[in-house]
Amino acid sequence: MTTVARDPVTAAEPAPPPPGEPAAGPSRHRFRAAAGFAFGAALLFAVAPLMLSDFRLSLLAKYLCVAMVAVGIGLAWGRGGMLALGQGVFFGLGGYAMAMHLKLADAGPGNMPDFMMLYGQLDELPLWWRPFASPWFALPATVLLPMAVAFVLGSLVFRRRVRGAYFAILSQALAAAMVILLIGQQGTTGGTNGLTDIQGFFGYDLDDPVNQRMVYFIIAGTLLALLALARHLMHSRYGELLVAVRDGEERVRFLGYDPAAVKLVAYVVAAGMAGLAGALFVPAVGIISPALIGIVPSIEFVIGVAVGGRATLLGPVLGAVAVAWARTALSERFPGTWTYLQGLLFVVVVAFLPGGLASLVGLARRRGGEPRDGLLSRVRRRRAGTA
């Protein structure tokens, strides 16, 4: 699928440890990972809040939510070869679950959210809204609901060996169906407007810049945790298996593994990450609507991942933040130009730089004496191309 099947760092790792144990790479790599982590944490927790204005910081919070989705896509697509074009669905499920709870909390116990009164079709709260009044239901639901949907769809689809383009189109159709459903059920979902004007976040007023900062810190911390989880998965025995399934599904099957189960785990984890991202997006931005989760935003999640480097750990995050930042910077002033640029980005990066910007880093690093284009990497690349 991609020319950077594995970056030199992971390729140098010895045989993976037995399952159940965390991968214990050479201490040098662990140290580097820990150092990188500390650097990222310092950047997110100290430098950004000190350097950026409140407005910029809340924008960054929004980008970091997109980056969380990107981490999941990097896992499912970069490592697992599943082009998930419907991650917006999971983002939306998480977002709506959170927004429903916050709307109910805003309205106060026993009251209906404002928009339901506005459309005036309902006398009382719909049954399926009620559990979301409890944070003990709503908060787990933001992650578990997307994971459940991904599990059902994934197990149906992967078991029957529907894959490649078929899977991509199906996941995209799921996004289309979800958006149409949300818009159609205006009375209970807010329709095209979505759930807007969210005031409070578990008792904290979201208009207060201090609380916005708190939301930012929660988001930054969550992103780091998700990165740690993704790194752990990628470097575990499971991660090896996932790459193996991507590059030769039939071989893995013949070796006695169940590729469907391997893919399912990555897809469900990616869905959970997207759900969490959606849930945190709501307090950061104050709105969730069908326009944020449909076909177009779903595919835009993917472009950041492609730009950064789909099969790497940090590439998707950096790519997602960079693309989201470029969109804000350019689309306000030149909306048309941004669309052209975005289209070009898709074309140029995917067609001519499939490893993303991370492959440029890898190229520069490989200059330093490591074998550049050995037989093995050529074979691997050819495999990846036809997978």
Binding site: R161, I169, A173, A177, V347
Partner: protein, 295 residues
């Protein structure tokens, strides 16, 4: 009974539109395994071609007739250009073609916005196609829907004949069935690919002409239709036309029935669930070419 037949006809006419769009995809996706997301924008190109021609030829009937071949060539030429510039490099990476052609479709949409403006434009339908025909039994059928049905039917017939009888069709089928064997038998597969892409994209142009009869023309008109059309091809099975034809009408009828019984939004979800369920039964689609490959 009348309602039933009326709904059936609605379903069939939805199916006819789907079929017109999916036919081209069946060719490009089926033969070359290329997921061309810009197909929707070729539809748009066909629609705008009709619009432009109507500015030149004011008689709506004539402009529509002229638009059919012109749109075919315009959209086909765009397809060939895309094939030469980009897709040719990506045959080994089908998923990446999806993303690349999505980028192309973004560019084409913005181009349409810059050239024709963001608001939708409208063409005048020829008078012959504006009314209804009353069938015995109190059923009325819209003329434009009937025209589209006929257009889709003739496109299927023409394509089938072309594939079955002509030397080009024989070459196309050979490449679909076994690309390597076709190549060693002296078929210039890359030229066949280009021709196939021309025809497939051209059919999108024809679909665009047909769509001008149903609604306004806008820069994003293709995006909304393309997913459904891809589903038709996925469910129909690649490499053959009959699956596409059957599934297009089946999905159309299912959609119309669901819409009649519930609402549009619920019907869409129903169709999606039905498709996933269907793929449990036949993961490769309704009809498939039997091959010995594992993938």
């Amino acid at each position: 009974m009348t309602v039933l037949i009326g709904q059936l006809f609605t379903g069939v006419s939805i199916g006819a539109v789907l079929l017109l769009i999916a036919l081209g995809l069946a060719l490009t996706f089926g033969q070359m395994n290329v997921i061309n997301m810009a197909h929707g924008e070729f539809i748009m190109a066909g629609a705008y071609t009709t619009y432009v021609l109507q500015q030149v030829i004011t008689a709506a009937g004539w402009s529509l007739l002229v638009a059919l071949p012109v749109a075919f060539v315009v959209a086909g030429a765009m397809g060939v250009l895309l094939e030469i510039l980009l897709i040719r490099r990506l045959y080994a990476r089908p998923l990446d073609t999806l993303l690349v052609t999505w980028g192309v479709s973004l560019i084409l949409q913005q181009l349409a916005r810059d050239v024709f403006g963001s608001p939708n434009v409208q063409t005048r339908a020829p008078e012959l196609l504006t009314g209804n025909i009353a069938l015995p039994g109190g059923i009325t059928v819209a003329n434009n829907r009937l025209f589209i049905l006929a257009l889709a039917g003739s496109a299927v017939v023409a394509l089938t004949v072309a594939l079955r009888v002509t030397p080009l069709g024989r070459r196309i089928r050979a490449v679909v069935q076994n690309r390597d064997l076709a190549a060693v038998s002296g078929i210039a597969t890359s030229r066949v690919d280009r021709t196939t892409f021309f025809i497939g994209s051209g059919l999108a142009g024809i679909a665009g002409v047909a769509l001008t009869l149903l609604g306004p023309i806008g820069p994003t008109m293709g995006t909304n239709l393309i997913i459904d059309a891809f589903l038709v091809v996925v469910v129909g099975g690649i490499g053959q036309l009959k699956g596409t034809v059957i599934v297009a009408f089946a999905l159309g009828v299912l959609q119309a029935t669901g819409e009649y019984l519930t609402t549009l939004s619920v019907a869409k979800v129903m169709v999606f669930v039905a498709i996933v369920a269907f793929l449990q039964w036949r993961p490769q689609g309704l009809f498939t070419l039997r091959t010995r490959s594992l993938a």
